[in-house]
Each structure stands twice: as C-alpha cells, then as structure tokens.
C-alpha cells in the first residue's frame, strides 16, 4: 500500500476513483446540483456547524461511549475488543447522526416535506424522529416484505407521525423502497427533500452522509487515545449501504497501521444465490444514481439480495466502499445469517447488550478474528444499532431451530 491519501474523495464530479457519480434522470439533475452547492455552503458555515453540534450533544446524546467489552474479550481470548456504542444514540442506531445533519440542511434550504426509504426501519424511525422534531411532514417508503418483518419499527414511525407507504414492486425490500422514493422526488421537485439513509445515491449523498457519520470515527480516535494512549489496530463494521462503516472508517483511512474490515451480509453463503454481498459476489454497475458494485445477472438485471437483517438486504453498496475495496485499503469479508445469529446470542449473554442483526455481522467477524490476535491488539467494533426491532425475526428463527432439533 503506497497511497496514503484515501480521504480526498470524491472529486468535483462525485467520483471516488471509478465509483460514484450522478446517474440520475434529468428532472433530478438540477436538484442534486443544488443540494451539492447548498451542502458545501452549509459545511463552511459556523452557524450550521454549531447547530449540528448542539443537536448531536443534547438530542442524540453524543458523545456515546467507547466501551471495553471485557467478557467478550475474555471469551475470545485474544484481541482487546471495544464497542463504539452507536446503539445508545437517541432512536437506537447510528442512523440519526445523518438525519440530524440532513434535516438541518433541509430547513436551511426551505424545504417543506421529507421523504426517505428504509429497510430495517432504523433510518425510517430516525427520519420520522427528526421530522417530528423540526415540524416537517414526512413520507417513508418501505418494502412490503420489510414491513412484515419489522412491525415494531413501523409502529414507532406511525407514533412519530410519519406516513408509511408500503412498496410491493420487486421483492418489496430496500432497493424497491429506494426506487419508489426516487419516483416521489422526481414528482415533487419543488418542496421535497430526499433524506437518503446511507452512503449511496447520486453525489453529494455518499460524501454528505459519510461526513455526518464520520463523527463515529472521530470520537473513537479521541476515546481510545484517552483509554489506551494510541490508535486502534483494527476496526470492524457491518456494511449494507455502508454508512456506519464509512462513519467509523473515514477518520482512520490514512493511518496505515490501522487494519480496516467491512463485513457484508453473506446470507446463506456467498457461493449461493441468497446473499447481499455486493463486493464479494457482485460486479460494477450503475443503480440509484451511482456506479458501484451490484448484484446483477449476465444481462445487467439487478438480482435479489438476501439477508436475515433487513438493513443489509440491498444489492448495492456505497461507492466509496467500492473504491476502498478496489484500492485494497479496506478488506471486505462476509458473514452468514447463522454466524450473525450466533454472535447475536453471544453478545446478549456475555455483554448484556442486544445488538441489531446488522451489527451482529460485525460482531461475528470480531469473534472470528479476536482469538487469533495478541492480547495487546486493540479492536474496535461499531455497535451500530440495538436489536429490539429484531425480536420477531430471532424468535421465529429459534422456533424453527427447535423444531428441527
């Protein structure tokens, strides 16, 4: 690895190497260009940053702790494992970091209505939350399949006053919800702000969402410095679209000693046709406004992703991850549904923390690696979300297993 400036992207065209860009219908082009200008202006405005800092502290509850997972560390018998506790944020996941940033931008731009897509519902809940807080009506597009498996989050969004539109097209999951949100945006160009929940979509979304999430890595650096007086040796985060991962990774990309690992959802296995591992099982293509790795067939048709976690059930990945994969700065591995469930149970029992199924993929990779590493190896896992929303999924999985036994 000779290159050291991995943090300079994207360029003016929104490209991270060959990935990213602005592949949208002409109707949306003036909107995404305007958004990029407004975001640049906001970023440079001290007042905007003060507001952002205020809401991060008093509303989200940041900084959240960097917690030494002592029993999991003992259990693994190797690397010292820390959890960056994003699940302690208001709304229970990292998603709100981005939503607060974007809603402040929406207000600044004078937008009157928010729309968003959601998979597991965590981004939907976070969007509905900030919409309530800032008094904006909000419409959440959610796949019908996901509505079925994430009932608790659907109810939370309703309580917060959001309108939830079930999307039955395609497989009724995150990709289809994103298509429908884009259709709404193209129809309501004057007053609507599209609050994308991950580091994907047309430029400036991948960079903007990353920036709002990068507080995860910045806090981690300071907190580990205070605890251990040095940099981490490795970082691990789960990757669907990849926003919690970019948030943790970005600040460390140019620290060559830090090993960085992104964990894709391997579903039933990357060698089957039921997974959501775009980097390990996909090829580059263009979808939802950006060029990135996609699950697709030989004709360029997007194929269905599969993961036990609705939040990772997406056939693409943020373009910056595609870039970091190609330049080999970040290692992307995959974890199966079963491995994630085992890690889910282990974390519940050993640490008294019920992690989200998405997060459980990162934990599974940590549990796999830690025993092979020395005791002075400092490993940080992004505890991206809490698992309350996954009770139903885990219950039905446990019931199915009991039947088999």
């Amino acid at each position: 690895m000779t290159q050291t400036n991995f943090r300079s992207g994207p360029d003016a065209n929104g490209l991270f190497g060959a990935f990213g860009g602005r592949y949208v219908a002409e109707t949306l082009m003036p909107l995404v260009l305007d958004l990029a200008r407004e975001y640049e202006a906001a970023k440079a405005d001290p007042e905007f940053n003060e507001q952002l800092a205020y809401f991060q502290r008093d509303y989200i509850g940041r900084p959240n702790p960097l917690y030494f997972a002592e029993r999991l560390t003992e259990h693994c018998g190797g690397a010292k494992i820390f959890f960056k506790r994003e699940e302690l944020n208001h709304t229970g996941a990292h998603k709100v970091n981005n939503c607060i940033g974007q809603v402040l931008l929406a207000k600044r731009m004078g937008k009157k209505r928010l729309i968003a897509e959601t998979g597991a519902g965590m981004h939907g809940v976070a969007t509905a939350t900030v919409a309530a807080r800032f008094g904006l009506p909000c419409v959440i597009y959610m796949g019908a399949t996901d509505i079925e498996r994430q009932q608790a989050n659907v109810f939370r969004m309703k309580l917060l006053g959001a309108e939830i539109v079930p999307v039955t097209a395609g497989t009724g999951t995150l990709k289809d919800a994103m298509n429908e949100a884009l259709r709404d945006w193209v129809t309501n160009v004057d007053d609507t702000f599209y609050l994308i929940g991950t580091v994907a979509g047309p430029h400036p979304y991948p960079a903007m969402v990353r920036d709002f999430q990068s507080i995860i890595g910045k806090e981690t650096r300071e907190q580990l410095q205070a605890k251990e007086g040095r940099l981490p040796d490795s970082l691990i985060a789960c990757v669907g679209g990849g926003s919690n991962a970019m948030g943790l990774f970005h600040d460390f990309l140019d620290d060559a000693s830090v090993q960085i690992i992104g964990v894709e959802a391997g579903g039933h296995g990357v060698d089957t046709d039921k997974h959501a591992a775009s980097l390990n099982g996909g090829v580059p293509g263009v979808l939802h406004g950006n060029r990135t790795y996609l699950l697709q067939d030989a004709d360029g048709q997007i194929t269905d992703a599969h993961s036990i976690s609705a939040g990772l059930d997406y056939p693409g990945i943020g373009p910056e991850h595609a870039y970091l994969h190609e330049v080999k700065r970040v290692e992307y591995v995959s974890i199966t549904d079963d491995e994630a469930l085992d890690a889910f149970h282990a974390t519940c029992r050993l640490e008294g923390i019920i992690p989200a199924l998405e997060t459980s993929h990162a934990l599974a990779e940590a549990i796999k690696r830690a025993p092979t590493l020395p005791r002075d190896h400092l490993m940080v896992v992004c505890l991206s979300g809490r698992g309350d929303k996954d009770m139903q999924t885990v219950m039905s999985h446990m019931a199915a297993q009991e039947k088999q036994a």
């Binding site: 065209n13 860009g21 602005r22 592949y23 949208v24 219908a25 002409e26 109707t27 949306l28 082009m29 003036p30 909107l31 260009l33 097209a169 395609g170 990709k175 298509n179 884009l182 259709r183 193209v186 129809t187 309501n188 160009v189 090829v283 580059p284 293509g285 263009v286 979808l287 939802h288 406004g289 060029r291 996609l294 697709q296 030989a298 004709d299 360029g300 048709q301 997007i302």
Partner: protein, 270 residues
Amino acid sequence: MSRLEQRFADLKREGRAALVTFVTAGDPGYDASLAILKGLPTAGADVIELGMPFTDPMADGVAIQLATLRALEAGQTLAKTLQMVREFRTGNATTPIVLMGYYNPIHRFGVEKFVAEARDAGVDGLIIVDLPPEHDAELATPAQAAGIDFIRLTTPTTDDARLPRVLERSSGFVYYVSVAGVTGAGSATSDQVSGAIERLRRHTDLPISVGFGIRTPEQAAAIARLADGVVVGSALVDKVANASTGEQAVSDVLALCSALAEGVRGARKG
C-alpha cells in the same frame, strides 16, 4: 442524412408533427412484441421508441414498470432487443428506432460491443434516462461517433442556465418531458407546453418531441399543433397489460396507434 433527420425533415415538409410511439421490447413476449413493432409504421407511427427492460425503472410509473416485468419474465434480454431491431429492419428501412432505457444493462453488455451491435442492427438513437450530460464520455460520445443519435430529455426543472449543457451534445431530436414526474402520470396544459417549447426554441434547432401523460387522440392532436413530435407510451403499454392474449395485445396496440396517428395527422401545425 440519418433516418431521424430524414423523417423529421419529411414531416416538416408535410406540415405535421411526428407520432412517436413507445413500447417495451419483449412485452408481452418476444413474438407478439415483434409483431407490434412490425405493425407500428403501418398503423401510423413515425418514430418508434423501443424500451429496453430493466428491473429497476426508477423514472417510470406503474404501467411501464409492469411492462418491464412482463418482458423480463418472458425472457427478454438486451441481446434479444437488438435481435428484434435486426428483424424489424429486414422489412423496414425508413422508420427510425430509438432504444430507450437505463444504463446498467448496457454497462454490463459492454459499451463498445453494444454500440457496434446497435449500429449494425439499425438502431438510430438512444435515450438513456440515467445518463445526464455529466456522464457523456461513457456512452453518448462513443454512440455518436458510431452515427447513433443521443437524445436528451429536458424537463420543467431544466432551467435556462442548464439547458445549453443539456442540449450541447443532443442529436436526433429533443425530448421534452412535459411534467416533473414518472411516465404515465398527469399531463401538462397546452399553455405550459407551448411556453416550454418557446423556451427550448431559443436554445435549439433540433425537432422537439413532447411526452408524458399523452393518452388520447385528442391530447395527441393538441400537442401536435405545438411540437414537432408527440410521444405516447404508457397508454399503448396499458393495451398490452389489458390484453388476454398476445394476438389481442398486437391488435389493440395497433388500433390505438392508428387512432393516435389520425389525431396527429388531422392537426396541422399552426
């Protein structure tokens, strides 16, 4: 002179607008779709837009989403769409065919191979919804170098500052999307359309075709008085959706095409 240039020049002499018809390739199946394609010129279509199915048609409304799914379920691929054009060209040398769709299937097929095969098949133009001029180098430039027109969409949100950028490398004709929205949604008023055309005229000499929300011969006639071309898509595609057999799909689509053509031909440009 390209087939598109020739066709619009001829119609200009006749003093009427072009009827531009959109159908999805492979909908409801290859054979019926090919029969529709072959029948369209006789039924009065002046230019044919042939949709290349894609699983995620983000800018399309329900009618074309469903058409896409029907075609994919029937086994349509980009290679088969090109084959369809080849077969069409054996019996028709004059009606321009414009392939319309999204970039990913072409990206996967390989741009170079696609451009060469499309040219050899007799494709005259491309409309790629998710390739704005910012990404011209990817497909627009190689396509035009091979003599295939690259037709741009302009929309109510394309303001005067952006129009020159959008029109700079446009060729064939300019497609004006008359409403901000997905295909098959609401329609614009005649006043809105004539205002928009006036604005476009200040920036381009290319023929201007207007689409989105035009469903009936009367609506087609009204737009034909203002524009150089009238695009009808979802209404034709709905005929396929409502047909119970492939034969019925062919006859219903062609019957609507004839009625639309009558509307367009009856409306002399003022």
